[in-house]
């Protein structure tokens, strides 16, 4: 059990910067998810923590101890890979036993047959055997112990990889997109298994994924990465409700947040399609800004000067909810409104409607995508 601190970590491959000097403190026993689009450097960062990659600058502290010079095996971390990386020539039993054998056996004891000649092998072997049996029992692998990885399904391989990670007592667990090779149903199931595992072990988990749903459902805290930068770290609620960057707002949440482009005028009033809406920002000059509103915060309303007119282009019926895809004049992005299926009556593709939202639900971002705040924040509705 350990805390992990990243201090000023930077990594470049030749000329390309993959990670730009970032810092992160992961508490002991925390489930932290690194989330971000493919290629943003998540795996690289995880591999730096594991010691498989040397950062160009910065340090990794494991339990407060500078570890950058330590070999991966000396850091006593466990890692689960996307491809599982099981040893294909070894049985499930042997795969799980490998980390124990590597650590507890001496050089001679690691050689099959020879190990029988070495004193003390028996008690170590028994110890390993008990551990392996216990772990495979816990993961439901007992009937499969003699199989080779080639004879297992994706989910079973996943479990073997988990078993290999938990069989010894590492100070923290690293996961690199462990569920992305599984089918959708199994993925959801394995999520809860991994969460259970973390509660039972009460150990530090660092979990990499590009799937925002995984990040939202599993983590204590989420760290959002984009293009080598850590742009926001916070609890799932915090990240969802209070994104500090437009990219975070757009990445987290499904369907995607609606982004409307707007202007401010010289009085600091925010104007959507030249119509002032009822909030203002401090900066009193005319600039472009973005208004981001979650699909569940938009609603269909009666026509009024402040309501946004649009046309339904597509209706997605999901059973317990429905999405209206609406085109709005002078806005390039089609917006999505989440409604209850009971509210669908009377609407069809092509219907002209009016859209509104509560000012407190709108998130404002400046041209660089940084969050800005409306001042004052009157409790008002756009279409009021």
């Amino acid at each position: 059990m350990a805390s992990i601190s990243l201090r000023n970590i930077g990594k470049s491959f030749g000329q390309t910067n993959v990670i730009n000097r970032l810092g992160l403190d992961i508490a002991d026993g925390e489930f932290l998810t690194l989330v971000g689009p493919s290629g943003c450097g998540k795996s690289t960062l995880l591999r730096i923590i594991a010691g498989l990659e040397t950062p160009t600058e910065g340090d990794v502290l494991i339990d407060g101890k500078a570890s950058i010079k330590l070999r991966p095996s000396e850091r006593n971390l466990a890692m689960v890979f996307q491809s599982y990386a099981l040893y294909p020539h070894l049985s499930v039993y042997d795969n799980i036993a490998v980390p124990m054998r590597m650590r507890q056996f001496t050089r001679w004891q690691r050689i099959p047959f020879v190990r029988r000649l070495v004193k003390g092998t028996r008690s170590v072997s028994q110890d390993i055997d008990e551990k392996v049996k216990a772990v495979s029992e816990k993961l439901g692998l007992s009937p499969l112990l003699n199989r080779k990885p080639g004879e297992l399904s994706g989910g079973q391989k996943q479990r073997v990889a988990l078993g290999r990670a938990i069989v010894r007592d590492p100070v923290a667990f690293l996961f690199d997109e462990p569920l992305s090779n599984l089918d959708a149903k199994l993925r959801v199931h394995m999520r809860s298994e991994i969460i259970d595992l973390q509660r039972k072990l009460a150990s530090t988990f660092v979990y990499v994924t590009h799937d925002q749903a995984e990040a939202m459902t599993m983590s204590d805290r989420i760290a959002v990465m984009m293009q080598g930068d850590l742009i926001q770290v916070g609890t799932p609620e915090d990240i969802y409700l209070n994104p500090q960057d437009l990219r975070v707002a757009e990445f987290i949440g499904s369907p995607k947040i609606n982004v409307l482009s707007a202007m401010t005028n010289q009085f600091g009033q925010v104007c959507l399609n030249e119509t002032p809406v009822r909030f203002r920002i401090a900066d009193e000059s005319s600039t472009e800004i973005s208004i981001a509103v979650r699909p569940e915060s938009l609603f269909v309303c009666n026509p009024s000067p402040a309501a946004i007119p649009g046309q339904i282009k597509h209706i997605e019926y999901m059973g317990d909810q429905a999405y209206l895809y609406v085109d709005i004049e002078k806005q390039s992005q089609r917006i999505i409104i989440k409604v209850l299926p009971t509210q669908l009556a009377g609407y069809e593709i092509g219907s002209a409607i009016h859209v509104g939202f509560d000012a407190k639900d709108a998130l404002l971002f400046d041209q660089d995508g940084q969050r800005i705040y409306a001042t004052p924040s009157p409790r008002s509705v756009v279409n009021a």
């Binding site: 590597m102 050689i111 080639g150």
Partner: protein, 324 residues
């Protein structure tokens, strides 16, 4: 499976499509082997009118006459030296080259050159190099006799060894061996050239095998506690190269049994039949001496060796090194 076939209405077309390949295979593979097999029971020679059935006479000769015992022992010596050494060197070289950050292609090209070069042409180069008086090898060796430091190192006199008991010391006094003309050295020399030629090929096969091992396996080995290069080799590299090794061994074995061109170019089976390998024996008996019957018998023995190796390989592939 007449049942299975009759379910397909177009089986005539199917058979028609398969036929050319089948006919070719029968004509160029099965028929010649069958003819060789039949001829091995006769004393036929090319051009003769009659075909005398001699039963197992040819085989009896092959397994009893001392010439053929020499044939087996020289072939086996060649195989026993060339196979392990060229496979081992191929593996070693591929591991070293694979670990390089740059210059991989240079080394690959250098070591692969002997494989691409025509062995007959190379044999002539070797003949010059190995020439007892004007060859560069003996030249270099005797030049070393003049250099005190090297001389004392090579003869072992630096730690008090008696110069005349060492191989190098004797060479300096009495001249270095006739590599190809001495029955004690000839087969080893041929084997050395065989290794020189085969190991580049094995290296390339091993390199292909190495590049197909997922780096994640090494990473997971590293995290699992395999700290030394040796333990990672034991845990990942060697087992993952299992299929490659079986293939490399089989190919090298078969090619070693087939050694011919160096022998023909450099020693013609001599001196005193010390390099009288099987392929050369077949060539000498059947072509030079026109004793087709005995040549065919050796061919059949040779083919059974190859067959045996292939069967063992199939068994190994099915049994032990198949992970998928």
């Amino acid at each position: 499976m007449p049942d299975a076939l009759s379910r397909y209405p177009h089986q005539g077309i199917a058979i028609g499509l398969v036929a050319p390949a089948m006919v070719l295979m029968v004509v160029i593979l099965f028929v010649p082997i069958l003819i060789a097999f039949l001829l091995s029971f006769t004393s036929y020679s090319l051009g003769s009118e009659q075909l005398n059935w001699v039963g197992l006479d040819n085989y009896r000769k092959v397994f009893s006459k001392s010439t053929y015992q020499k044939m087996f022992s020289s072939t086996l010596l060649y195989v026993a030296v060339v196979v392990p050494v060229s496979v081992g060197l191929g593996l070693g070289a591929s591991l070293l080259i694979h670990s390089l950050k740059f210059g991989q292609n240079l080394y690959k090209t250098i070591f692969f050159l002997p494989v691409m070069a025509a062995l007959l042409a190379m044999a002539i180069a070797w003949e010059f190099a190995l020439h007892p008086t004007i060859g560069i090898i003996n030249h270099t060796l005797s030049a070393g006799c003049e250099s005190n430091g090297w001389y004392s190192f090579a003869t072992g006199s630096w730690y008090g060894n008696d110069v005349s008991t060492s191989w190098y010391g004797r060479g300096c006094e009495k001249g270095f061996p006739l590599w190809l003309g001495n029955k004690d050295y000839a087969m080893w020399t041929i084997a050395f050239i065989g290794i020189w030629q085969a190991f580049g090929f094995n290296m390339v096969l091993y390199l292909a095998g190495l590049s197909s091992i997922s780096p994640e396996l090494y990473h997971s080995a590293e995290i699992d506690g395999a700290r030394s290069a040796w333990s990672r080799f034991r845990l990942v590299t060697w087992p993952m190269l299992g299929p490659t090794t079986v293939f490399v061994l089989t190919i090298t074995l078969i090619r070693s049994f087939q050694v011919f061109d160096t022998v023909e170019a450099l020693t013609s089976g001599g001196p005193v039949k010390s390099t009288y390998v099987m392929m050369y024996a077949i060539f000498e008996k059947a072509i030079k001496h026109n004793l087709v019957g005995i040549g065919a018998a050796i061919t059949v023995v040779f083919l059974s060796f190859v067959m045996l190796i292939t069967l063992i390989q199939r068994w190994l592939v099915d049994r032990r090194v198949h992970y998928a």
